[in-house]
Each structure stands twice: as structure tokens, then as C-alpha cells.
């Protein structure tokens, strides 16, 4: 298969990818250019941020967030990153993830904030999952949101950019649709404006599939963690992603249509019934809908009380 862009210029070069949803075959160079042009256009068209703004990229060590960090830096945006060390010991998952983020930061000369959950809470995600009674993904989301927002506010960043891709967004929308969770559907958008105490959140990779992000990493030799999060095994999002890949195979462009037609045709019609008012947590000052401590501080209290009980038992 030949690169269509090169063919248009009268050059013959071998394609490395065929994108059925764009009816486009691209060689290594043209794919890199296409990806960066599309990323810049997405940021501009959806008014995510301007080149002068200070951006904080949340990096996990996975392919999507590292591709985003690398591409934004290459395109000349003012970008730093934050990595949350989740304290997952199984298969050295957190250790390797952190190393991948640190290595890319050094390579592209971009500042990386590191937050260790274990240093702040005394426990990693697997233990917090048992202590809180929340699912691992729920407790992970809670602590990540808390620390990322904290770093964004302290560092005066205009917004937080995450590596959510088209497959992630389609799987989430489908999941919300299955339960007709209108409140969650309203909150699903490429740009979530700044709210009292919450930094603006943007998803610049929302037009790219996981495969496109992986390819961008491979052609730029971005080393990412290939291991799946050991706590995410069997999540329903994996099933929905497989399902939508089947749909996409027979009907190319379905994922883009499903997500973006929702954004233009349905989301504006949904009633924003959320009456929850944001208040400041009396302990940490971060925004919360609760009248008392925020969910993060409640988790912190729970850890403290369990540790106190353990010590008391040892003394007894």
C-alpha cells in the first residue's frame, strides 16, 4: 500500500497505516505531520487553549498521555506535566510507569511534577481500595483528580490536559448511555470549563484512536508502559472498546460519528439538572459538593482511623 499524500505530490512511499475512517493511507513522515496538524486543529477549533497559556498534562506513563505531552511540546505549547505515583506494586506497575514519565520529561526537557500517593496517604491504590470500599478505578480517579487539580492551582496552570482518546470517550459514552445517566452524559465533553476551584479540563486527543496514539509513540520512539494496569483487568470499558472496534470494522467512522454527533446533536438538548453547589472543603480548601469534608479528606480520615486502630491492637 502506498502513501496517498506522497502520491498526490508525485512521490512513491510505503504506507505504514491505513485509516479506513478517513480513507487515507500514510507513510511514517506523513502520519506524524497529519497527527500534529489534526491535534493543533482540534485544540484551536474547540478553543481548548492558546499557544501562550501554561498547560499541565496529566501523564500516567501510558502511550496516550506521553504522546500528548511529546506532541504539545513539539508544537511549541507551554507545557509541563504531572505524574501521580499510585503505589501499585504488582508487576512493578507504578515504578515502571513513573520511570517512563521521568525519562520522557528528561528527553524533551519539560518539567514533571511527581506526587506519590503513598507519601501523602501512607498507602497505595490497592490498600486504599480495601480501606475505602470503593472500586480500584473509583478510588484512583478520586485521588488523581484531587492531586492534579491541586498542582494545577498551585502552579497557576490555565488548564489540565489529559490523554483521553476517541476509544476511551466512546466507551464511556456508551456506558453512560446503557444506564441513561444524563448527569454523566452532560459532563462528557472535550472541554470542561473552569469552575470555582476546579481548573479547566481538556482532552486534545479526543479525535485520535488508541491505535493512532500508539503509532505516534512508535514512530517517535516514545517509551511507554505496555503493561495493562493490574487493577483494571476485566473492566467493562475493555468490552465496549472491543465491541466498537467490531462496529468500526464494518462501518468505518462510526466511533467519530457516535461521539461527535452526540456533542453537536444531543448534548446541547440535555437538561443541566445539576443543582449541586460547590463549596470549599473545611480541611483542605478544595472544591466539594459536600457540606462537610470533601471525598478525598474523608478517605484520608478513614486511613488515619484504621491505622490508629492497628496501633492500638498492637499495644493491646
Amino acid at each position: 500500500m502506498k502513501c496517498r499524500r506522497c502520491k498526490d505530490k508525485g512521490i512513491s512511499s510505503k504506507a505504514i497505516i491505513f485509516l479506513p475512517h478517513h480513507n487515507l493511507s500514510l507513510c511514517k513522515n506523513c502520519f506524524g505531520e497529519w497527527y500534529e496538524y489534526r491535534l493543533r486543529q482540534t485544540i484551536k477549533k474547540t478553543r481548548m487553549f492558546t499557544p501562550g497559556e501554561k498547560i499541565l498534562v496529566a501523564v500516567s506513563g501510558g502511550k496516550d498521555s506521553l504522546a500528548l505531552w511529546y506532541a504539545l511540546k513539539k508544537l511549541g505549547y507551554k507545557v509541563d506535566a504531572v505524574h501521580i505515583d499510585l503505589g501499585i506494586k504488582e508487576k512493578d506497575y507504578s515504578l515502571i510507569s513513573r520511570e517512563k514519565a521521568e525519562n520522557l520529561g528528561k528527553r524533551i526537557k519539560s518539567h514533571l511534577h511527581i506526587v506519590s500517593i503513598k507519601e501523602h496517604l501512607g498507602e497505595g491504590i490497592p490498600e486504599l481500595h480495601w480501606l475505602s470500599g470503593r472500586s480500584p478505578c473509583s478510588v484512583c480517579g478520586l485521588v488523581k483528580r484531587y492531586f492534579i487539580n491541586l498542582i494545577a492551582k498551585k502552579g497557576s496552570y490555565s488548564c489540565v490536559a489529559t490523554g483521553h482518546n476517541l476509544d476511551d470517550e466512546v466507551a464511556t459514552l456508551f456506558s453512560n448511555l446503557l444506564s441513561w445517566d444524563v448527569d454523566l452524559m452532560i459532563r462528557q465533553a472535550p472541554v470542561l470549563p473552569e469552575k470555582k476551584g476546579f481548573a479547566r479540563r481538556v482532552k486534545p486527543l479526543v479525535r485520535f484512536t488508541e491505535k493512532e496514539n500508539l503509532l505516534y509513540c512508535l514512530i517517535h520512539e516514545i517509551d511507554y508502559i505496555r503493561e495493562e494496569c493490574p487493577l483494571a483487568r476485566g473492566t467493562s470499558s475493555l468490552l465496549y472498546k472491543r465491541l466498537f472496534n467490531e462496529v468500526e470494522q464494518t462501518s468505518p467512522g462510526s466511533k467519530l460519528r457516535f461521539y461527535f454527533n452526540f456533542q453537536t446533536n444531543l448534548r446541547p438538548l440535555l437538561p443541566n439538572k445539576s443543582t449541586a453547589r460547590l463549596k470549599s472543603c473545611p480541611s483542605c480548601g478544595q472544591p466539594t459538593t459536600s457540606d462537610n469534608l470533601c471525598a478525598f479528606c474523608r478517605l484520608k480520615e478513614r486511613v488515619r482511623s484504621v491505622e490508629a486502630q492497628k496501633k492500638q491492637k498492637q499495644l493491646d
Partner: protein
């Protein structure tokens, strides 16, 4: 040909198209990238018996 998928290794006899190999391994073309002797290839390419092939999975959960 030797085919590496994550920590697993498979051996296949004869010439195969990339899309046939993915089908045999029950892997989806939408979520996998095939590397033949260090070069990324599209699904219409042929793989020869002496080729070393690596398949990288793109889908992550969570």
C-alpha cells in the same frame, strides 16, 4: 515465522498476509500494530516464513 505477542511466542508455517495472521490470532486490526523485521506494516502486506513479527496491542482499560 516467529510471531511475538506480548510475552507469548507463536510459530507459523508458510506465507501469510498480515490480516490473515491477525485473524488466526483472533486479534483485531483496529487495535493492533504489526511490525515485520523492525518495520511497521499495513494489513495488505505479506509475511514470509523467515520473518520475525511483533504485534503490539493498542487497547488499554481503566
Amino acid at each position: 515465522m516467529k510471531v511475538y505477542v506480548g510475552s507469548k511466542t507463536y510459530n507459523f508455517q508458510g506465507r501469510l498476509k498480515v490480516e490473515e495472521l491477525l485473524h488466526k490470532l483472533n486479534l483485531h486490526p483496529q487495535s493492533n500494530i504489526v511490525i515485520r523485521n523492525g518495520e511497521i506494516v499495513t494489513e495488505d502486506e505479506y509475511l514470509e516464513p523467515e520473518d520475525e513479527v511483533e504485534i503490539i496491542h493498542a487497547i488499554s482499560g481503566g
